[in-house]
Structure formats: structure tokens, C-alpha cells
Amino acid sequence: MTAVTESAVRRRSVDWWRWSGRLFLVLLLGFTVMPMIWMIITSLKTGFAAMQYPPQWWPAEPTLDNYTRLLDPSGRIGQDFLHYFWNSLWVSTITTILAVVVAVPAAYAFSRFRFPGRNFLFFAVLLRNMFPAVVFLVPLFILMKALGLVNTHGSLILTYLTFGLPLAIWLLKGFYDNIPIQLEQAARIDGATRFQAFIFVVMPLSTPGIIATSIYSFIGAWNEYIYAYTFLTKQSQMTLPVGIQRFFSENATDWPGLMAATFIMSVPVVVLFLVLQKYFVRALTEGAVKH
């Protein structure tokens, strides 16, 4: 009998913890999701409805006007917006491609080869990430100016690479460390050159890592604001985070338009995540368990 009551008591205490945990998660979820919901709701309102007080919890007259305005290439706002969007896409994509192209061989070398200065170099790579990004703002601006890159996308791509590469190299190195070296040795004995062993055996196995790395650098570049704001003054060069600012005007901010633009800006990231999340999770948990 005592055993039964004891286990009952224990079960109840476990449940109490579980429920408080769930409550906490629900609060956390609300905290993260609410702004997004409000963003979407506001983007469906008219300018007048957005400013009403007390607020309309649900738009009385939902409208897609804000979206059509942004995506209409014949209008002035649409033209600008699509141009910023294209700039962002271009900068982020090139950054991602370059990051992967550089990080893959670098990470592989750090993982597989023993060369003089290896530990120092790897530490130096990580050292970059120990400083806040803003610290480099002025030095990099001076550097870009000297190189004549101010007001070009090249300045942003170079800057984003300095942020994205260390993380990409670090992430990928962990990935290569987990691929048994015997697989490459087997491939080399089976008739592959060192390079072929890398291409045919190592690369397919590191695809999840490469995808995760790509997502990281893409999102990093896509969302970056401070450097884009500093390096770019020409309107034709601006990326989305900077361009969206133009919705704040001196007299009246176009809130629904701003929210619609923000929503469209977050779409590529969300889609990328949803499509590739299984690789992403695998990359972050790789090596956690033996398999």
C-alpha cells in the first residue's frame, strides 16, 4: 500500500513540473509569435485602421492593397521595394556561395591536415567572433573607402564574409571531424584520388552541414542592418533592411506598408528554414549520439 501511495505522490510531482514547463513554453511561444501575428494583421489594414485607438484586433476591412502596392513594378513604391529585394537577394546569395566555397576547403583542412600554425589559425578564426560586430564598423569603413568599395555591394559581401566565415568554418569542421577518416582511406584504396575521395565520399556525407552553413550565412547577410546602413548611401544600392526605413517618413509613417514589407522580407528565410530544416537539425545534432 505504501508503495502505491508513494508512487502516486511521485507521479503527481512529476506532472506539476511538466505542467509548469508547458505553461512556460506557451508564454514563450506567445511572446515570440505575437509580434509576427500583429505584423501580419497590421499589414492587412488600411492606413487609417492601423492608427485607430482602441486598436482593431481584427481588421474591419481586410485588404491586400499594401502587398499589391509593394509588388507592383509599375508604381514608384513597388519599383523601389522590388529593387531593394533584388539587392538583398543578390548580396545574400553571393555571400552564401562564397562562404561555402571558402569554408568547405578551410574546414576540411582544419579537420584533416596537421600543418604548422594550425591551432593558432583556428583560434584566430574564432577570435573574430568574440568581438561585437560594431567594433569593426569604423575600421572596415575606412578600409572599404581606401579600396573604393563604399556604395558597392562588394563592400557588404566582403564584410558579411568576415562575419559568416568563422562560424561556417567552425560548424563544418565539426562536421568533417565526425566523418571517419577510414572512409576516405577506403575510397583512396578503392581507386580514388584524394580529391575524388573528397568529392564522392566526403561531400555527400557533409551535405547537411553545408546546407546548415548556407542557411546561417544567408540569414546573417539577409538581416544585416548596421553595415548596410553605413556603407550604402546610394538609394539604388540599398538592401531591404535599410530600404524599408523609407517607409518612415517625417510626417506620417505608413505602418501597414511597413508591416507588409517586413512580412515579405521574412518570407524567404522562413521558406528556407521549412524546406531545409531536417538538414539543419541533423547538422546541429550530428555526433551527439553514436549511430
Binding site: 582511406q185 583512396r188 575524388q196 556525407l205 549511430h291
Partner: protein, 361 residues
């Protein structure tokens, strides 16, 4: 098939010599086991033969061709790894086909060879599976299949059985031995398990500290170990070694007793560089008595381990542990005083200073 010749092979990392002046010849069709404790240089030696590591010195030839500077892919070898190293993203079929694809064989021929190898190893029903869907024994077979599908000159095997459970290991041991006989394959096989080496190999190369200690048939290594390391490494239980001193025609113990030597053994003992001698004896050559008999020495029983058909006893003699095998009918108890009789014709004498086996001059 072809032979392998190692001549003065060296591999050093800075001042650390992983492989130190190793020379031996593997004849065509021979099964040679490289055996030794972990860190003795056996796997490094195998990797040097494979070409996975650059040599620091010496020559390696495979089938009358010096391969020192050849890539692994050009050495005409196949290798089976301890962790099998099957390509995890490829099916069994593609794992087997990979070495053939790399050599750009026509598709039909690849298919024929893969099917043949699969039939030989009884893995035809597994061809469409991924490696992770296979049991350890099945993975082992696939690894063997990938090695033999190409019909290489030499098979290199790096502890291929050590990841298997005990029962499967015994089974795969006989399969690999059978595989060697059927294919008349030249095999260089690395293991830390002397029993695998003794049971499977035509010859065994015992290594320690980067040096080749002895290279001979298992029977000869067992019967005539060249030094105390080989003596204590080969055989289970190991050969017992008792440090003693020469005194005239006898070996004397600090405990006070003396063991008279036969004339042949006296001549051997005379070859020692110092007075120190290590007496070696295998468990099966010793006799246990409950009272003093001529030519026996006193000892104290430490443990008694019945295994069914034979009982092993460990006896302390002069501070050294001596293994003895007994008939199960013999009843002795721990801490009992016993007398151990040595077989003068089958005892081993080693130089106490150099650890080398002493030969009759």
C-alpha cells in the same frame, strides 16, 4: 596475387619512431599476421603498405614493384577496416561497385563481379540495403566483398574482427581463413589478439615499440620465442617468467632454493651476459606436487580457476606469478604450499639483462 617485401621500413613523427627498421617478406598466397599490443606500430606498418601514410625510410615492394611513391589506388591492394568503413550513403550494391566504377569498368562487368562477390559471401539478399540496416556480421561481409570484388594483389586487414561479439568473431575467423584458402589470397592482417594470429596466420610478425621482434610461423614463435616479450605475448595463458640468478650448475632464488639444470641448459645459461637469468615455462610443461620431489621448487597457490576440462592455477614462485594447468581432479586451495617441477627439455632461459633467449653454444 603477389608477395609483399618490406626492407628497413621506417616511420617517425619527430623523434618518435612508430615503425623502426622493419623488414619482412610476405610470400605470394601467404597469410601474415602483424601482432602486438596497442601502440606497437602494427597498424602504422599496414598503413605504410597501403600507402595511406608516407614512409620516412626504407622500401616496400608489392609483386616485384617498388611502391614507395605510388598512391594507394595504384598499389593494387584492398583493405578491410576495423570499423568496416562502408560508405554510409551508398547501398550495399554501390559499395561493392565503387572500386570497379573508379576503375571505369563497363557496367555489365561491374554487375557480374558484384553479383559474384555477393554470392560468394552470401549477401545477395542485402544488396539494396544501406550499411546502417545491416548487423555487424553482415557489414563485415560487405567490407570483405568490397575488398575481393576487385581481385587485388594483396588484401590488407586492420583488426577486422575486433568490433564483433565473441561468438561472431570465432565464426568470422574461420570464414576469413576459408576465404584465404579458397582464393589463395595474400593477406596481411593486423590484430592485437595473439589467438587470432596463431589460429589464422601462416606466419606472424610480433611487434613491440615500433620494432619487429620475431617473424616466423606461429608454431615456431610459440616454441622458440626470441625474447621475453614474445614469450609473454604469445600463448594463453602467457608463458610464466621467473627472474633468477645463475649459481654453478643451478639457478638460485633469493628465497633460498636452487634448481639444478640439465647439461644442455647449463650451456645455455653460460651464454648470459650477466648472472641474471629469466626462467620461462609454459603452463602445460609444469607439474604440481603436494610434497617435495627432486627438481622441484616451492611455491604458494594464489588462485585456482576451474574451466571445466582443465583447471588453471596461479602459483607465486620467487615473487613471480606462474600459470599451471591441472587436471580438474586435482584439489588445491589458495595459500597452499606446493612444489612445481620443471621440464628441463621444454623450459626457456632468457638473458636477464638483454631479455634475449639463450641458445646452447
Amino acid at each position: 596475387m603477389a608477395g609483399v617485401i618490406l626492407e628497413h621500413v621506417m616511420k617517425n613523427y619527430g623523434s618518435m619512431y612508430a615503425v623502426n627498421d622493419v623488414s619482412f617478406t610476405v610470400n605470394d598466397g601467404e597469410f601474415v599476421a602483424l601482432v602486438g599490443p596497442s601502440g606497437c606500430g602494427k597498424t602504422t606498418t599496414l598503413n605504410l603498405i597501403a600507402g595511406l601514410l608516407p614512409m620516412s625510410g626504407g622500401d616496400i615492394s608489392i609483386g616485384n614493384r617498388v611502391v614507395n611513391d605510388l598512391d594507394p589506388k595504384d598499389r593494387d591492394i584492398a583493405m578491410v577496416f576495423q570499423n568496416y568503413a562502408l560508405y554510409p550513403n551508398k547501398s550495399v550494391y554501390k559499395n561493392l561497385a565503387f572500386p570497379l566504377q573508379m576503375r571505369k569498368l563497363p557496367k555489365a562487368e561491374i554487375d557480374r563481379k558484384v553479383q559474384d562477390a555477393a554470392k560468394l559471401l552470401d549477401i545477395t539478399h542485402l544488396l539494396e540495403r544501406k550499411p546502417r540496416e545491416l548487423s555487424g556480421g553482415q557489414q563485415q561481409r560487405v567490407a570483405l566483398g568490397r575488398a575481393l570484388v576487385r581481385d587485388p594483389a594483396v588484401f590488407l586487414m586492420d583488426e577486422p574482427l575486433s568490433n564483433l561479439d565473441a561468438k561472431l568473431r570465432v565464426q568470422m575467423r574461420s570464414e576469413i581463413k576459408r576465404f584465404h584458402q579458397d582464393l589463395n589470397a595474400t593477406i596481411v592482417y593486423v590484430t592485437h589478439d595473439q589467438l587470432e594470429a596463431v589460429t589464422m596466420a601462416d606466419k606472424m610478425a610480433v611487434m613491440n615499440g615500433g620494432f619487429l621482434q620475431q617473424y616466423d610461423t606461429p608454431a615456431n614463435v610459440f616454441a622458440h620465442p626470441v625474447n621475453t616479450f614474445v614469450a609473454s605475448f604469445v600463448g594463453s595463458p602467457a608463458m610464466s617468467l621467473i627472474p633468477l640468478e645463475v649459481s654453478g650448475n643451478a639457478l638460485r632464488s633469493p628465497e633460498g632454493w636452487e634448481l639444478q639444470l640439465s647439461p644442455a641448459n647449463v650451456r645455455k645459461a653460460a651464454g648470459s651476459t650477466t648472472k641474471d637469468i629469466v626462467l620461462g615455462a609454459r603452463h602445460s610443461t609444469l607439474k604440481l606436487h603436494k610434497s617435495v620431489v627432486p627438481g622441484s621448487v616451492p611455491g604458494k597457490v594464489y588462485t585456482v580457476e576451474p574451466t571445466g576440462d582443465v583447471t588453471f592455477a596461479q602459483v607465486f614462485i620467487n615473487g613471480a606469478v606462474v600459470n599451471i594447468s591441472l587436471d580438474p581432479s586435482v584439489i588445491i586451495a589458495p595459500d597452499e604450499m606446493v612444489w612445481i617441477e620443471f621440464d628441463q627439455d621444454r623450459m626457456h632461459l632468457f638473458d636477464g639483462a638483454t631479455t634475449m633467449a639463450l641458445q646452447a653454444a
